[in-house]
Amino acid sequence: MTQTNRLDGGQIDRNTSLSFRFDGRSYTAHPGDTLASALLANDVRLIGRSFKYHRPRGLLTAGSEEPNGMVELRTGARKEPNTRATTTEMFDGLEAYSQNRWPSLKFDALAVNDMFSNFLSAGFYYKTFMWPAAFWEKIYEPIIRRAAGLGSLSMEADPDEYDKGFRHCDLLIIGAGPSGLMAALTAGRAGADVILADEDFTLGGRLNSETIAVGDRSASDWAAQVVAELSSMPNVRLMPRTTVIGAFDHGIYGAVERTGDHLATLPAGKPRQILWRIYTQKTLLCAGATERPIAFENNDRPGVMMASALRTYANRYAVTASQRVAIFTNNDDGHRTATDLHAKGVKIAAVVDVREDAPSSYDYEVLKGAQVINTKGRHGLSFAEISLPDGSTRTLDCGALGVSGGWNPNVHLTCHQRGRPVWNEALAAFVPGGELPVGMSVAGAATGIMSTCGALQSGAEGAAKALNLTGALPDLPEAEDAPVIQTPFWYVQGCKRAWVDQQNDVTVKDVKLSYQEGFRSVEHLKRYTTLGMATDQGKTSNITGLAIMAEVAGKSIPEVGTTIFRPPYTPVPIATFAGRMKGQEFHPTRLTPSHYWAKDRGAVFVEVGNWLRAQWFPLPGETHWRQSVDREVRQTRASVGVCDCTTLGKIDVQGTDAAEFLNRIYANGFAKLAVGKTRYGLMLREDGMVMDDGTAARLAEDHFVVTTTTANAVSVYRHMEFVRQCLCPDMDVQLISTTEGWAQYAVAGPNARKLLQKIVDPEFDISNEAFPFMACGNVTVCGGLRARLFRISFSGELAYEIAVPSRYGDALMRRLMAEGEEFDVVPYGTEALGVMRVEKGHAAGNELNGTTTALNLGLGKMVSKKKDSIGSVLSEREALVEPDGLRLVGIKPLLAEDKITAGGHLMKADGPVDAAHDQGYVTSAVYSPILNSNIGLGLVKNGSERLGEKMRLVSPLTSLTVEVELVSAHFVDPEGERLRA
């Protein structure tokens, strides 16, 4: 196809031709084009459909504020819905599809909505669809949902990579138009660290869209020259294709750099986009201004565009939207577009200016005091109807109509914290005001200085002021300095439907109806009509809506209010915020030193926090996990087993006050613990609930080793540091986490000692007499390797935990397996560990659920009343010591094969089954191969006094009722003879 609307000039590379497809048809374009300019060049005006009425939509703008020209870009898993054609940089092979239409863009069945639009006025859905109630989910809502939404997702995982990074600077300049470039030049030449970020792929902003001169050259040449100088400065970092999306606390800005969106395919390993956090002392916002429309009848027809966009397309992209263009304006800027287009050979049908005193032209007709009152054309503009001051009407033959209602400063980032823009009467627009983000100032059109000369000057001065520069500023080039007067003209009176928010189909009438119905605050207006809630966030519509509201309320615009803007400045892919933290990389994976040994043994692993732990070790022929676990339990209890418990938190506590410190953090006493002894420690939160449990081993008078549960390793350490630094600042005690410094293994079972005696060097006597239950000490193993040995037991067997420096963990495990062969040693995983601890009646994570007290767990006597320890006072509150409170019990089914369900609730043997009669719940459930029965632990009201009582375990969720008996939680070896053997 030929590019019928291509003009001369522009910043495109005509020597290279690119091909692209839109809705399956092939077209050509050039490097430097956007998808929007390329579509216009090929005379494609109809691009999409609106949200509610599915009215035909074309391009409105040439920038990121675009509400209409949105497509689904790319295909397959890389499909990007709702992509603005105006900011999509052309590449060879680009594929795009129109969206929100069915079956085709030209014949959209849901365009029928438009015929009923009178019934679908603002907020109509709040008033109907209520009867019958069940119809909402079944009928009304599915219809609404299918009609709503815009583009569609591929439903496939996003295959691209995304990155994150951090940058620091003295001055962040947002926007590389005339003020931004001049600011960067000023700051850069002064030697400051500068970042200049702009959302566009070519720096220069409006300078690339204008035919004006700056200094002795064209505006775009001047911009290119400045960019070249800035590029040569090592202290200036230019970031094109980078949108600063938000201003956050303390001078931190979020920015998204689109590193790969302009490429047909990403180079391997390169990210598609990068989320930058920019830390800056000062920020100069040079974000420019956005042209605002005028609302009139059928102003949403494809071909009706912003006048400045037409100018951008003509001057920068060498494209006209049509060969016959009309302009509708209330200010001089609209005339510039006519002049530029005329100079490019485009026929100007007329300039329609609402002002009686509009400037005249020799080149084209100017209709003064006139207004556009309607447009015609099936899928795009063919005619505009004009009303003239004498009351007569006239029809203009035109394929594009450029509309200019004046310019609004882009104040968005000034509002991201507490800033509230203020009304500027001369501009009839909001300008930055209130409290700006810390360190931010504003220059150029963003602050209401609309002339090129003014922008250049304010950029230079803004940079100098921000950085406290004292030297001479760079010479300012000469540039136009036309005064800008904006007399508001928001919409043409007497229209049936004049569109304010074009994407969400909000009309002038909708705004008035909202007011009529009492939705009179700006926020109510937005929420009731959906004005400004579309993907452009009201960049081209908010002010008009506000103005209409002010008119019907008989108030001024600032009296009615202002809507503020929230981040992000333009929408950001969710994947960009996530970066590389997805899939397996979502969280770090922590592996114990003997992980690969376990993997070689065929272990099945389970996630425990960020750790991977061996859950069980299946042997050939075992087809069900229970076979493996039962075997591991039996073999451990019969002979000896080894379990990797490296993941337990380990905290080294040293200092002359170490014992006193532990006395404070544990509910039970530690002051008198002898050197060489270990004690079980119960740690409470200050609110009296059990926080964690573990052991503390006294290796020396002033040296303890504390263990925590795997889950609480971090929070316990934090808590201990809190107590140390904030509550007992003068205690002589130091803490360090050694969790990753030591590999630790439980060796449990009747033959545990025999096995260890083959490992521990012979000079250390670990006989029962010399190293009894709860002993601890430094030893050496395997011929001199330093190790720590603790005689503690979680399984209830004769057991030890042995720790060696992490790098020897794998070797120790292998040695234990080799030396243990004669005892038929078995490695066991977390499941067998869990079975044995339930058999023994030890509380673990399911019982330490943050709502249980020591009393609940049957450990009430451990809470010493003779000393000051965290949590002891509040653990005495009346509800926490009620005799009818929950107590830990064992639960056994009357029929051994009946399953116990953790999470099941307990009811009395007879009587109703409901919440009011709840007696407690099952916390843990396992199958005990020792007892040949399912067993469980549970918390039951006054349970310790109810042992022997029959109850019903109910789990309606899993359709289960089982008759059970409350028993002691200590199923195996209640007297503790084995662990002392």
């Binding site: 109907t128 909402w136 949902r145 915020f577 899939g583 399911n846």
Partner: protein, 416 residues
């Protein structure tokens, strides 16, 4: 004015001239029987039930800004009653039942959509806890289902089952849960309360509480003193500030919760989904936006905005759970200030000041509670005794040790 499909058609044919303001804009009277501070969801619901159910007609709601401008207008619209503890579940199930009849009660379509919620679990311990919770729900008369991984996959095939760091092992489902159009809830309650004679007074900030001899006599406002026999405070997010005017310190901290919405998309999510291994939950609005959120920022604040680390954290959770949303764009982020209480559960109770009543501490779960909170607060204000389903929501429960701590994290509000 009654709303109906016929009314919409009739107005359409007559140029929409007949629509009346949904609420009056009255000047405050000198005295009311009851003044409710706070024109948010809970305050307006309180006014609705006071006037419609409890026969109180001499009632005013005073609102600092515009009604519905607080958390009812800035939440993620989820309605559910999937709680575990005795103190909570009956209340939230009561609320769920009110939601189910809300549109007919209000004659306003709040678009309550019972599309269900699934809470995914990734460990055996989580499964056990959800089993306990699901059983508690059923035993309290609510609905719950436990799905295994295959069943979850059937209903949500787009979740990450193949490359997940924390594999999905199943989920707890409540089919009756869903979402509602949050603004419409506030407007519907306001319209109904207004129709039943309640004065809704906007742009009327309470600047003080007039308390004499231990009794609250009314509120000082920017529109002058307004006398009242009883004053009810329903200003979650700002509770400490208002109750501070009565000299009270509360078991509450104010924190910001951020929320996010994507650009509009054709339907992809059938229900509300909660990730159990990261901070992420999501639903899709009728307009097509993915509405999602995660954890609170975690520091005390009254600013309705958050910071980037939490934005990233939430999106990381989203990408880990459903990597197909990667190319959907986040359109808008905002923050709401939460009353984070010391056990994660709310307070509806009398106060030590006679005639002064308190409703707050909703943490980030206040939206779903709106109807029941209003109903029960109205009960308390009208009858001076708590409604049976809120007897546990006492202000003194921390003193007696009767905390209602679903999460089990204790007296640290930012962990709830």
């Amino acid at each position: 004015m009654r709303y109906s499909g016929f009314r919409v058609i009739k107005e359409a044919l007559t140029g929409h001239k007949g629509w009346k303001p949904v609420w009056r804009e009255p000047e405050p009277k000198a005295h009311y029987d009851i003044v409710v501070i706070g024109g948010g969801g809970h305050g307006l619901a309180t006014a609705h039930y006071l006037s419609k159910v409890y026969g109180q007609r001499n009632v005013a709601v005073v609102e600092k800004g515009w009604i519905g401008g607080g958390n009812v207008g800035r939440n993620t619209t989820i309605v559910r009653s999937n709680y575990m503890l005795d103190g909570n579940e009956p209340f939230y199930e009561f609320s769920m039942k009110l939601w189910e009849g809300l549109e007919q009660d209000l004659n306003y379509n709040a678009m309550m959509s019972q599309r269900g919620i699934i809470n995914l679990f990734h460990t055996d311990g989580q499964r056990d806890a959800y089993t306990r919770r699901g059983n508690a729900m059923i035993l309290n008369g609510a609905d719950a289902e436990l799905l295994d991984a295959d069943q979850v996959r059937k209903e949500h095939p787009y979740l990450n089952f193949d490359d997940a760091r924390f594999p999905i092992k199943g989920g707890l489902v409540q089919r009756r849960a869903g979402t509602a159009r949050h603004d419409a809830v506030a407007w519907g309650f306001a319209r109904s309360a207004d129709m039943h004679g309640v004065d809704i007074i906007q742009n009327c900030e309470v600047t003080g509480l007039r308390i004499e001899n231990g009794k609250c006599l009314g509120v000082e406002t920017t529109k002058g003193f307004i006398g009242a026999n009883k004053v009810g405070c329903a200003v979650a997010g700002s509770s400490s500030r208002v109750m501070g005017m009565a000299g009270m310190r509360l078991p509450i901290e104010s924190h910001v919760l951020q929320a996010f919405v994507s650009e509009g998309l054709k339907p992809v999510l059938p229900s509300v989904i909660t990730f159990g291994a990261g901070h992420f939950y999501v639903s899709q609005s009728d307009k097509g936006g993915l509405v999602f959120g995660g954890d609170i920022d975690g520091y005390n604040t009254y600013a309705q905005r958050g910071n980037l680390p939490v934005v990233e954290d939430v999106c990381e959770g989203g990408m880990a759970l459903m990597p197909m949303i990667g190319r959907a764009r986040l359109l808008r982020m905002w923050g709401g200030v939460m009353d984070m209480s010391m056990d994660g559960s709310p307070i509806i109770d009398r106060t030590p000041v006679e005639g002064l009543y308190f409703n707050g501490g909703w943490c980030y779960g206040g939206f779903k509670a709106t109807p029941a909170s209003g109903h029960c607060f109205a009960h308390l204000l009208a009858k001076d005794e708590p409604h049976p389903v809120v007897t546990a929501y006492r202000l003194d429960r921390f003193k007696t040790g009767r905390m209602i701590d679903e999460k089990g994290v204790g007296n640290q509000p930012n962990l709830h």
